[in-house]
Amino acid sequence: MKKYLLLLLFISQFGFSATITNIPPPNFKHYLMDFDDCDACGCSASGGGMGFSSMLDKNFVGVRYFNQSYSSRDGIFKNSPWIDENFNTVQLWARIPVFKNFQISALVPYHFHNRELSTGRQTIEGLGDITVLGLYTVYQTKKDSTVFTHMLQAGAGVKAPTGKYNSAASTGSVNPSFQVGTGSWDYLLAAEYVIKKQDLGFNAMLNYAFKTENDQHYQFGNQLNYAGTFFYVVEREKFTLVPQVGLAGETYATNKQYGEDIPDTKGDILFSKVGLEAGSGKFSVGLNAMLPISQNLTGGRVEANYRWSVNLNYSL
């Protein structure tokens, strides 16, 4: 059981990178590795989520909802009003094992975002960018009786432009990420390391997304995501609880159009995160929240307020 938990934790940490939800890895049967290719602040564009099933059954289906709240300055002046932007995503995901030590995971997000500009309410909704990722377990502690157990996983993947990118949606505002997709094929590299002693564990995650130019000649900046999470496994007869706490950060390079840097589009942010997952039988639920500790997004013209998510998984 512990071994499986470990694996779960490990996996869930994986996609965690700052994507939209940045959900802490661990836990339990379904990990929501929220691997979200968050482009330039806001990251609504892909909002992927990587999920892994429990060790009991590697095949699973799950659904998750997450909400991101941002404020952006509606105008070019110091005293231009700040408006709220709400990014909502519902995600389906599944995990398919291919062969020993290798898994493929897919994420299908659907977005519905809104914001109140000074010119009126703007909404955008639609299918987001589908992500497919392959992960290989490079090393895993075999002996049961060791004090510390370790696991290292590495992998690569791709995010497809299934979500529509329409420059008009973000024209006229400072936030270039009010989109449902990046319109580009993006390539991902990821690595994760988990160390555990008895019920307490720590997960470190790193991933990097290479973004390409879309057909409207817009290219989002490459993105680096990282996270560190402490988790504690409380195992009881009929259920298991895994509370967790940690930090997660995202760094975005400058966006470009026609190969030319667009000023004030790069950024970085550091979140604190806290969450809880609970599972019983084939079902599990999770709840997670993130609050920014420090940030400087789009030249200070966009601010992240918070993120939270809730999910429900069923192992097949």
């Binding site: 070019i76 008009a168 024209t171 006229g172 057909d215 026609y258 840097d261 000023p263």
Partner: protein
Amino acid sequence: MNFQLKNIAAVLAATSLFVSCSNDDDNGSKVVEGAVGEAELFFDNGMAGDALDLGNAYTNSNGETVTVKKLNYIISNVVLIKEDGSSFVYPKAENYFIISEEKGQFTVHLENIPVGDYKKVKFGIGVDQQRYLEGESAQKSFWDLAYANDMTWTWSIGYRFINFEGTFAETSDHGRHEELPFQVHQGSNSATDNYREVTLDLPTTARVREKELSSIHIMSDINVLLDGDTKILLHDNLNAGGTAVSIMGGENLIKIAQNSLKMFKVDHVHNGPGSHHE
């Protein structure tokens, strides 16, 4: 057998999803000789970095608190310049525009611009002397348009390049704490040519393409007119009765013309088939 079919079907389905989304159509990037596109200059008026709202009070570094009631100006002789220095001069006959805060007229719309990549924009504030001396034959309906926007003088015949009016109060101890009206009417007269041109760099390239609109978003700073490189105190320009300020001639207009060189800067450029600014 079943398993294989299912798998194949799944793979095919996944592939088709990806294929339908990728779009190799690259009609936006090419520069076709002889093709034309549109561009616009969108003027976003402000006072020292804050948005200009008619009726709001602003205090400048001269210690004077100004409430703007009217801000109109004439933009003319627009030229788009490429990296190699070559330029496109917009046709003279249509190259005179009026920006009016009260009427919500903020856009200079330009059509039939040769497609290309432009790095700078140049334009004039007001009406150039050469055009003015050509008289009515040349100006035609622009005089009517200017008249309708309070941008003409009829006692000394000419155009007001900038019509900047409102009230002001004094915050220092001059012994006055009332709201007095002021009018600043920048323009040329038969003695002085106060027309000025500015060349602004575009922070990113304006890519004019067929069926696309390149929007150049310009931020203006009205504060520099009185509180620029040269300071003009409204208090020092009160009329004989001390009841109002009327700046319409003389040395003041020469100072304002000089100050106005720093009135504009390009905030950003939008390219592509995006929507116009409101």
